[in-house]
Every structure is written in structure tokens, then in C-alpha cells.
């Protein structure tokens, strides 16, 4: 039975009584505690976290009958047994070096939701007003901006409960602010590592790209132990103002035993360009909710994903392309390569709101099934409430064509290598849409790493 404990105030020391969030009589209690907020957080934030905790507890877990959770394996979502990740002495420098971009605007490294390293960005960036810092720090230095933008968008695709949990327990993440007119040629990169068994983390990313600015950011999510169970509940909010350009990439490489819920919101301003690319590799159950809201005329959002699903992994992808204003464009391409007993769910909706005329919206999901037991579920949706629009969606599921394989074999390439080459080619079509060749190459190697 769930216990609602009024004594669990955010500033109070967590005690055993507060520990139960959604345990049942038979299951072990969850060890997640509403105590992540430190007393040094501003009062508004403490209040927000307290309210979020109450909201989290009051909301039910997703049920099979919820349309937003259709086909999902809900049993993965029991949060029993996880505790907030504790401090660790793990050394991640080699791992960072191995996966780092050659050139970057700045870098932060978090281990178990604690900032362990920050590259001081180029001082000239600071002079131009660029802020690249941890959420914790920003609460002190940029409280007003955070207060305005921190999780200003509700979770629209079913994960209200997890959004509340994130809000209540977040303690680490990225705050990136790019002032008007500042263009940064190199991406920022952020690493989130997790260490330990049954640890939970709540990584946060907030990017504000002011008008006419240009910025890119790569988030890495990595488990130090490739088989340790754990839970991640992350949020990334991307705010792209008029005529700004933002390219966001997440590389999700949690352990094979991880449960992950990631909630994205992208707001696109007038004539702005947003690109959101998700590379999904890890996790036993990974849910990705991604919403693009085209809030002003001329905006464009590209939503891309590459998923390599193997073993008994399940990737649960829910997307929403929301066209609120005329002359907006969105283009979604999600590609899944499924091996072993893997399962994918893609449920996407293009919504063209009344009056959002001259909208161009495209949505394409392609599943490549590489084993007998792999299962792909596709729910591509359209809701069109304006007329002068160009909208298409397509969903295909199939396998490598024999003729294609034969062609490669006829050139002397052995079967496994030929398959790998075709799968890589299949996924690379997504990466081809990036306009930064260096990042493209970097991400190709990330994909290759998971195709071996």
C-alpha cells in the first residue's frame, strides 16, 4: 500500500517512514527518498520539489488501459528496490577520454548525479555571456532564468508521474544559456555516469538558445557496470528562440539491466531550427518521450533516433510533433535495428492545430528485424485540424533483403560482416541528416561500437 507521509518535507532528513513510495505489501519498498534537495537550494525550488513529491505520490502508475502506454511492458516500471545514487570514488577519466569529441566548446562530467569535472569554457565565451554550468550552480547564479524555464512544459505523452519524480529528486544536470546572436561552432558535451547496483539518477538538461544564436550539445548516459540494474529518470528541455539553431544529441548507453525514462520537450520559435537526435543502445526498458512544439511561424524541428536493440531490451518511443502556428515544419525519422528478443514500440503523433496552415510534417519509422523473436510495434498517428498542409507518415517493418545480402557476399564479404554493413548503412541514413561532419563521424563510431 502506498503511504503518503506528510512528515516527508523536503527539508527534513529522510527517514525510513518516508521511504515507501509505491511499494505493495509483497514487494520490497523503494528506497527513493524525497531528500535530494539540499538546504542551499533557493526556497522556490525547495517548494517546487516538495510539491512535485506530493504530485508524484498522488499520481497512479501507468496502466495497461492507458492509450499512451499501449504495448509497453509496464512491469519494468515498478520502482521498488532503487535508491538514489550515492557518492562514489569511481574514476571515469579514461572513459571520458575514449568517448570525447576532439573539439568541443566545453565539457561537464557527472558521476552519480554529482559534478566531478568541468572544462572551463573558453573565457571569451564567458565574456560573450555564454553560461555552461551545473544545475546546482545555476540555481544560485541564474535563479530567475531557471524559475521561468525549469520544466515549464508538462509531460504530454503519459509520463506525468515520472516528470513529477524527476522534479522532486533532480539534483544534477546541465544549464546552458547562449545569449542573442552568439554562434558556437563546436558542441558542448556532458557525461552522466552511474556507478553501483540499483542506483537511480535524475539527469537534467536545460538549454536556452536566445534569438539568432547557434549551439550544439551532446549528452552521454553511461553505466560503469554494463550489467548493474539501475533507474534513470531524465528530463531535457530545449528552448530555441527566434532564428536560433540548436542541435541536441543524446547517447544512451545505460547498462543492459537499466530502466530509463527520458522526457524531452523542445520549443521552437520563429524561423528557429531544432534538431534532436537520440542514440539508444542501453537499458532493459527505455522509454523516450519527445515533444516538439512549433510555437511560431517558420520554425522547423528535426526529430531523429537510432536504436540498436538486442537481447531482451525494450525501447518504448513516444513522440509528438505539435504544430501550433502556420508555416512550420517537422521531420521525424526513427530507425530501429532489432536483434535477439528485442522489442520496440514507436508511437508518434503529428498534430496540426486549427489555423496552423501551410504546415509540412513528416514522420517515418523503419524497423529492421534481424531475428525470429524480435518484435516491432508501430503506431504512427496523424491529427490534422487545418487544411492547407502537407503531411505524410510511413511505417515499415522488414528484414534485410536476400538480394542485398547476396550482392555483398558476391563481393567476398562474409555473412556476418555483410549483415553488419547493411545494418550500419540502414542506421547511418539517420546520421546523414546531421550537418556537422565531425559530430557525424563521432556518432557513427558510437553506432559501430554497438554493432560488433
Amino acid at each position: 500500500m502506498a503511504l503518503i507521509m506528510p512528515a516527508c518535507r523536503p527539508t527534513s532528513r529522510p527517514d525510513a517512514g518516508c521511504a515507501t513510495i509505491m511499494s505493495t505489501a509483497t514487494a520490497p519498498p523503494s528506497l527513493l527518498l524525497p531528500g535530494a534537495v539540499r538546504s542551499e537550494s533557493p526556497p522556490w525550488f525547495q517548494e517546487l520539489q516538495a510539491a512535485a513529491w506530493a504530485e508524484f505520490k498522488s499520481l497512479p502508475l501507468p496502466a495497461r488501459t492507458d492509450e499512451t502506454w499501449r504495448y509497453s511492458s509496464l512491469k519494468a516500471l515498478s520502482l521498488d528496490g532503487y535508491s538514489t545514487a550515492s557518492e562514489t570514488s569511481a574514476d571515469v577519466r579514461d572513459l571520458v577520454a575514449e568517448r570525447a569529441l576532439r573539439r568541443r566548446a566545453g565539457r561537464m562530467v557527472f558521476v552519480n548525479d554529482r559534478l566531478t569535472a568541468i572544462d572551463d569554457p573558453d573565457p571569451s565565451l564567458k565574456d560573450r555571456g555564454v553560461v555552461f554550468t551545473s544545475l546546482e550552480e545555476a540555481l544560485g547564479t541564474h535563479g530567475e532564468l531557471l524559475r521561468k524555464h525549469f520544466m515549464s512544459q508538462p509531460a504530454r505523452l503519459g509520463s506525468q508521474k515520472f516528470a513529477a519524480l524527476h522534479r522532486a529528486l533532480v539534483r544534477a544536470g546541465t544549464f546552458l544559456y547562449v545569449p542573442q546572436g552568439v554562434e558556437l561552432p563546436q558542441p558542448f558535451e556532458v557525461f552522466h555516469f552511474v556507478d553501483g547496483e540499483n542506483a537511480s539518477v535524475f539527469p537534467h538538461t536545460l538549454v536556452i538558445a536566445e534569438p539568432l544564436s547557434k549551439v550544439a550539445l551532446v549528452d552521454h548516459f553511461i553505466s560503469l557496470d554494463a550489467s548493474a540494474p539501475g533507474f534513470a529518470c531524465g528530463v531535457n528541455d530545449l528552448i530555441v528562440r527566434d532564428q536560433a539553431k540548436l542541435a541536441y544529441t543524446s547517447v544512451q548507453d545505460w547498462s543492459q539491466a537499466f530502466v530509463s525514462v527520458q522526457i524531452n520537450s523542445t520549443l521552437v520559435g520563429r524561423d528557429a531550427r531544432a534538431m534532436n537526435l537520440a542514440l539508444n543502445f542501453g537499458g532493459r526498458y527505455s522509454r523516450l518521450e519527445s515533444v516538439s512544439r512549433l510555437e511560431a511561424e517558420g520554425g522547423r524541428s528535426d526529430m531523429l533516433a537510432v536504436t540498436v536493440a538486442g537481447q531482451d531490451q525494450e525501447f518504448d518511443q513516444r513522440t509528438h510533433q505539435d504544430h501550433l502556428k502556420p508555416n512550420t515544419t517537422s521531420d521525424l525519422l526513427y530507425k530501429n535495428a532489432l536483434f535477439d528478443d528485442a522489442r520496440t514500440i514507436f508511437s508518434g503523433l503529428i498534430k496540426v492545430e486549427p489555423g496552423a496552415h501551410r504546415t509540412d510534417a513528416y514522420q517515418k519509422v523503419r524497423n529492421l528485424l534481424l531475428s525470429e523473436n524480435a518484435e516491432a510495434n508501430s503506431l504512427p498517428g496523424l491529427e490534422i485540424l487545418a487544411d492547407d498542409v502537407r503531411c505524410t507518415h510511413g511505417a515499415t517493418s522488414g528484414q534485410i533483403e536476400e538480394e542485398e545480402l547476396f550482392y555483398l557476399k558476391s563481393r567476398g564479404i562474409p555473412l556476418p560482416a555483410a549483415q553488419r554493413l547493411i545494418v550500419r548503412g540502414f542506421l547511418n541514413e539517420v546520421l546523414d541528416r546531421l550537418d556537422n561532419p565531425e559530430l557525424q563521424e563521432h556518432l557513427r563510431s558510437e553506432v559501430d561500437r554497438h554493432l560488433l
Binding site: Y407, L408, K409, S410, R411, G412, P414, R424, N428
Partner: protein, 254 residues
Amino acid sequence: MSAIVIRDLFVSIHKQEIIRGLNLGFKQGEVHAIMGPNGSGKSTLAKVMSGHPDYEVTGGDILLDGESILGLEPDERSRRGIFMAFQYPMEIPGVSNANFLRAALQARLPEGEELEATDFYRRLYEKMDLLEMRREFTARAVNEGFSGGEKKRNEILQLAMLEPRFAVLDETDSGLDIDALRIVAHGVNTLRGPNLGVLLITHYQRLLNYIIPDYVHVMSRGRIVRSGGKDLALELEARGYDWLRADEPQTVNA
């Protein structure tokens, strides 16, 4: 000197017999042309030599230096030096030409040995120049969005890069305009030499004006019905195929 010998070959696809007792032999260094009307089994011969899974060999054998290749997978045949230039080359989305060729060459190296990149590109550019192909072509996906002529040139490029002992060119001239045909033929002629045996499969004599064969064979109803020198092609051009159809098949050992 390697040789391929096809002995009393019978081949079916979907239970329908296409090749019915075909005999043919050819050596490295020779250029043989196989001509014949549509449906005579020419393309089937090419497919079965390269090991296409849809084709079933119901009798006979194909020997490479005295050893049967019928039990070999297509990739093993390729690595043993039998190359096929396809009539309809496949498009491989997302796989660049350069990566594709590297993978094919890498597969030919002993385990643990890495392909040397600078050397690879030097050779690649050299062969591309031969075929008048532009540099940006290396980054494009294999055959994707290629014109008919570009696809055929790409086949010859692969032939040049993989350096097989035998090449089967299946209707390489089809769909080519005269300029593309000249470029392709120039490529093949350049590669011609004591180390390469070529089997040209073609419906028309036209290609043979550019690539002069040492021997010409006529195929009809799944067999070789006539063999001769390059003049046979001219005779076919003048008289068509009909006069040969009723002929008794002959066994040829070149």
C-alpha cells in the same frame, strides 16, 4: 594458370529447368563471349556461377582448377577470385562506396591484418580516374540513386579494385549509352591481361565491337549450341539467332 570448367550443368529455378546440360571451359587470360536470345539461360549461368541461392543445380558441376565450387557460399567464391558484374546492381542504402569496397578488400586479408587506408584510396582514385568517376562518388551510398550508366561503371570499378581471376559480366552493356559503353569497355580492356579471364554475357554484338573476344559461344535453351571465334558474333549480327536454334548442341572445350 587457373581455369573454370563447367561440366554437363543442369540448373532449375522454382522447379523450372533453365540450363540443360551446359559444357564450357575457359582460362585466365582469355575473353569469352556468350551470346544468345532472351530466355536462353545466359543470366542464369552468371547467377549460378556466383552462387545465387534461388538457383538449384540439379546436375553437373562447376570446377575451379579442378575443384567444385558448388558447395561454396557466394562470398567464398568471390574471395577465390570469381567476380560477377550484375545486370541489375543492388542499391545498398546508407553504405558508402568507399566503406563497401574497404569491407570487401578487408575480407580478403588474413585475420588480424588491417587494410592500409592511404594505399586503398590511392588505388581507388586511380581506378576511378580510369572509369571517369568523380571523387564525391566515394561518399555516396552504393548504387543508390545512380543512373544506369553509373551503376555499370561502379560494377567495373569493383572489378578493378577486387582483382579477381575471373569476371562474369552479365549484360553489362544493357542500358548504356554509347559514351558510357566506351568508358566501361575501356575499363575492361585496361584490366584485360594474363591474370584475368572474362566471360561476357550479352544479347547484342555491339559490346563486342569494343571488347574483342577470343571466343564466342551461342547459348540456346540452356545449352551452348555453337562456338567459334570473334567472327561468329558478326555472323549472328547478320543472321540473328533463329538459324541456330534447331542445331544440335555441341560440346566445347576451350
